[in-house]
Symmetry: C2
Subunit: 298 residues, 2 copies
Amino acid sequence: MTNAEYRRLMDLVEENLVGFLPEVDHKSITLHDSMAYSLSAGGKRLRPVLLLATCELFGMNPKEALPYACAIEYIHTYSLIHDDLPAMDNDDLRRGKPTNHKVYGDAMAILAGDGLLHSAFEVMTKDMLLYFDQPEKLQHRAQAAYEIARRSGVRGMVAGQVADIESENKQCSREMLDYIHLNKTAQLITAAVMAGSALAGISFEERKSMSTFGEALGLAFQIIDDYLDVCGNQDEMGKPVGSDAKLNKSTYASLYGIEATVQRANELLDRADEIIAPYYDQAEVFHAVIEHLRGQLK
Amino acid sequence: MTNAEYRRLMDLVEENLVGFLPEVDHKSITLHDSMAYSLSAGGKRLRPVLLLATCELFGMNPKEALPYACAIEYIHTYSLIHDDLPAMDNDDLRRGKPTNHKVYGDAMAILAGDGLLHSAFEVMTKDMLLYFDQPEKLQHRAQAAYEIARRSGVRGMVAGQVADIESENKQCSREMLDYIHLNKTAQLITAAVMAGSALAGISFEERKSMSTFGEALGLAFQIIDDYLDVCGNQDEMGKPVGSDAKLNKSTYASLYGIEATVQRANELLDRADEIIAPYYDQAEVFHAVIEHLRGQLK
């Protein structure tokens, strides 16, 4: 992502991500280091950037939304740490670096993941305390935390992880693959957009269309990830090509073929594009994300 | 615990614990079953009962506090599931039943733990949405969720777990043992009392003394657990006697001896007793807990 507006928000996230972690006692320094290691492993920061961009789109200062932006990246990062564990996907590399458990051991990796998930809710609920004399802003924050909680939990991301694990080594139906994609990936991306919408206090109608936008973008993102697992190269991805196939995981590409995969991804990106079109003057970040994803299909 | 008042609140928890979980899709039924399995494995429900008892002590209907009571038991239960994993304490039995990973496998146990932690914050933030037109009640709820978040996270329970794991197989200083006890156990018990206090909206002064109460009770609870690991019997505990010694974990009993352990536990219970004394007419549940713990030292 070379877009300057995207970079500006991404830098804001990078500068604050580790600093927003709750301060720990020196006796827990390994826990802190282990969490910071995975938080600092890079990545596009797509979810927090989308959260901040949504706030900005609707007139809110993104700096006020940082606790929620960091929280969603903590949740994303914890899910990767747990997903990489030997008991799960058993991956040694993530973004070209050794995975958390390879550096800190399985026990610490489990606890670092847990710690990041706790921290997500600690920073959000702590932020709420600052708005006790501003009832409307407090409501917006509670709503944002709920969007993140429900879409990342057992009716969202965790449900997707479970279905993904259970589908290994067996033929997966198209219905089940949709369920996995929606929950494992699209829900957290939608959560970012919806938490930003809640914080900015936009109308019910606007929230509905932002939710459709988030879902379309999130599904496109996962389908393109499937596509790259077949057609990408390791340098771009930071993980070995074919790692899904290695685990006998069904992907969009394996169930529908490459051509249909590219078509479906483009359709979803078109839908996202349409929803964001009325805001084009101020929606450069969203536009850049959509175009970046389109570019990966070539 | 045979006290009728304790049982009344415990029954209220039991009746709602699984029902308060977020409703999941049938495709995630194994996740739900795995979470429900550990939630239904029994136990004294000490933390949610203390939370409800605190609400009641300060004039609040405990039924209104159920989302927070269930949330704290979800967090306690997830910590046990992860703690029992092969990568951590590697326990086969918990409360006399096979541990979660023995029944559902390591991957599902990790995800069931994650799911319970997510669910804790989902039920609390969802509850907040009901109080958007009652700003003071919304504040109380945000404060309660924060008490639970910070005391269970990387400055609380998770920090204690990390220190506990890192202290295996080496001589542990008294200072470190205090740190482990405070964080691993006392913080979540204090969280229960403090969340109840926040929900009931009591004064700063009262909250301060309830926090001292929670800490004293929580430390006594852990020291007595250490004592029972040496002097208890397997039937009472639902896990093998000597399992801490098996992992070469330092305990209060191994560092200070049995006599000093009993004395320290009694001192802490005395302190808790003193704080609760002014409320004796209405504090039967707290009194019963203190006396039950004293009884285990005989």
